[in-house]
């Protein structure tokens, strides 16, 4: 499977990865049309400051033993055995937030865009490379096969 590797010392805190994620998960997929201040459209990734103030990009790592999957009482979250991607099925999701309660890295969230369901990184299912990785101008995030 593939994972996103993070070199936080290269992160400029530009949040291009967040913007790319937001754009990718709208119907038009356009960075020009996406409303970046729409509170209901949250990115699945985030850039946050570490203890010394260094911006640090954080992504769902599609865990080997995902706590979100263990918590999901609806069977809406599953780990795809072929790709390793932890997938969320919005139709099955009951919006109980047990996954948000359980992800130790804060990578499950609520999505106003999809109403009362959870949302997470889908590894940009319809693209070869996650759009955050393609959008990072500094090389702070890279894709590696493990």
């Amino acid at each position: 499977m593939q994972r996103i590797f993070i070199n936080k010392s290269l992160c400029a805190g530009c949040k291009n990865c967040e913007a790319a994620c937001m754009a990718e998960h709208t119907t038009h997929r356009s960075l020009w049309l996406v409303n970046l201040s729409d509170p209901s459209n949250k990115p699945n990734n985030r850039v946050a400051l570490d203890n010394s103030g260094q911006p640090t990009p954080i992504f769902c790592q599609h865990c080997d033993d995902p706590a979100c999957v263990t918590a999901c009482m609806a069977g809406a979250l599953t780990k795809n055995p072929e790709t390793g991607v932890v997938e969320h099925n919005r139709d099955k999701c009951a919006g109980c937030w047990m996954c948000i309660m359980s992800c130790p890295y804060g990578m499950m969230h609520t999505s106003g865009v999809y109403e009362d369901t959870a949302a997470k990184c889908d590894f940009c299912a319809e693209r070869g490379t996650p759009r955050c990785v393609s959008s990072c101008p500094t090389g702070a995030i890279t894709l590696r096969t493990i």
């Binding site: 994972r3 203890n51 954080i58 918590a71 009482m73 069977g75 009951a94 109980c96 309660m101 890295y105």
Partner: protein, 417 residues
């Protein structure tokens, strides 16, 4: 080699996939009273019709074929002969096992209230039959009283309110959801319930159910003397483990089947997992039932792995976590809801309509409530479950701790704390 699993819910099902990861060939027999696989947590949605029974199934349709499980449904286990390694059922079957998993979960607990066992329109809410019975009654009934305002009681109240019944909640504690929330967070839900015409009596105890001559429910009497007209009663005062069939089995039980870190019971080759067992809970360090879905899944998986010859131990067995989404107001809470004594400090934030509270002692988080904005809550859950120090963090970030504060990516790309 034959595996037998009693119970086809969270714990039993997750044991199956764990067994099959290590043992693709030996036979697995699953026995359950349940006739369908469904998520009990979604019974309220089934009552309101938001979800069908089929939609609440939490496993893929081909699960039993894929994992080659013989499922004996609609069958209750009545006895286990531990010498002969035989499970006996209510329809006369005798099934031998080499490794057995007891994952029979729990049932609604009916407290000793006058006439509670006798009255007709009185239901718990635990199994699909309860939900269907409630739906059936709800067609003709107008006034429901719910005894107990924990999560199940409150969810039942919302569901019946949705179906147009006049609902009253009666709770022993001073506020609703007493195990999950503090007064402030619960108060926000109490207001929403009241706005939806759901009545709440807190600090109250149901002392008696009044019945007519045909044992139909007519009224509910409270300790204060209040008499509430009712034609339907839901009992949501907690659960009791399904261990009746173990009455004559020499297995160690104390508020649940006692298990060790490997989910082994006191009898070799017999395991237990989920709501039926009692294990060392990590927040309290006490042996208690841990009746939440994620732990039933986790314990089932550990049992399954060990049954199939693996060696897996429970590490974190943290049961003090709750999430809810009621009337569009979301809350996640962990650990204590109030500081137990003056050695703990309480930090509170009201911001943009959200309420957040943290309880800390010596740089360790012991409790958290997030109401409204719940994003990133899971990090606090991890810190509380594993008692990870936050001493080195900038204090002004107390309410915005993220994984960036602990960032540590391994060579395989996985994160660690």
């Amino acid at each position: 080699m034959q595996y037998v699993i009693i119970g086809s819910s969270a714990a039993g099902i997750s044991a199956v996939s764990a067994i099959r990861e290590l043992d693709p060939k030996n036979s697995i027999i699953m026995i359950s009273k349940d006739k369908q696989i469904y998520s009990r947590c979604q019974l309220p949605e089934i009552i309101t019709g938001e979800r069908t029974l089929k939609e609440s199934c939490f496993i893929p349709a081909n699960f039993f074929e894929k994992y080659r499980v013989k499922w004996i449904d609609d069958t209750g286990v009545t006895h286990i002969n531990t010498d002969a390694h035989v499970v006996e059922t209510n329809n006369g079957q005798k099934i031998t096992f080499d490794r057995l998993l007891i994952a029979t979960g729990a049932s609604s607990f009916f407290p000793p209230i006058d006439n509670l066992q006798k009255g007709r329109q009185i239901c718990g809410l635990r199994n699909i039959d309860d939900a269907l019975q409630i739906v059936d009654y709800a067609h003709d009934m107008k006034k429901a009283v719910i005894i107990g305002a924990g999560l199940v009681g409150v969810e039942a109240a919302l569901a019946l309110n949705d179906l147009g019944l006049k609902v009253t909640l009666v709770e022993n504690a001073s506020h609703i959801l007493p195990l999950q929330l503090d007064q402030t967070a619960a108060g926000n839900y109490e207001r929403l319930l009241n706005e939806h015409q759901i009545n709440i009596y807190t600090n109250e105890i149901v002392t008696k159910i009044h019945l007519d001559e045909k044992q139909n429910v007519t009224h509910v009497e409270l300790k204060s003397g209040v008499i509430l007209p009712a034609d339907l009663i839901i009992v949501a005062t907690g659960i009791t483990p399904n261990i009746q069939f173990l009455d004559h089995v020499p297995i160690k039980i104390n508020r649940g089947i006692i298990v060790n870190e490997k989910q082994e019971t006191s009898i070799p080759n017999i395991y237990a997992a989920g709501d039926v067992c009692a294990s060392t809970e990590s927040f309290t360090a006490k042996i208690t039932p841990t009746p939440i879905w994620p732990l039933a899944i986790e314990q089932g998986r550990i049992a399954g792995t060990n049954m199939a010859g693996g060696n897996k131990q429970r590490t974190i067995n943290f049961a003090y976590k709750n999430s809810m989404n009621l009337f569009g107001l979301s809350t996640i809470s962990y650990g204590f809801t109030e500081a137990p004594n003056e050695n703990y400090t309480t930090h509170i934030q009201f911001e943009r309509g959200s309420y957040k509270k943290l309880i800390i002692k010596d740089g360790i988080l012991f409790g958290a409530i997030f109401q409204g904005d719940i994003s990133g809550a899971g990090i606090y859950g991890k810190l509380i479950a594993e008692k990870i120090s936050i001493n080195s963090l900038p204090p002004e970030r107390l309410f915005s701790i993220s994984y960036a504060n602990f960032f540590n990516q391994q060579e395989n790309g996985l994160y660690r704390y």
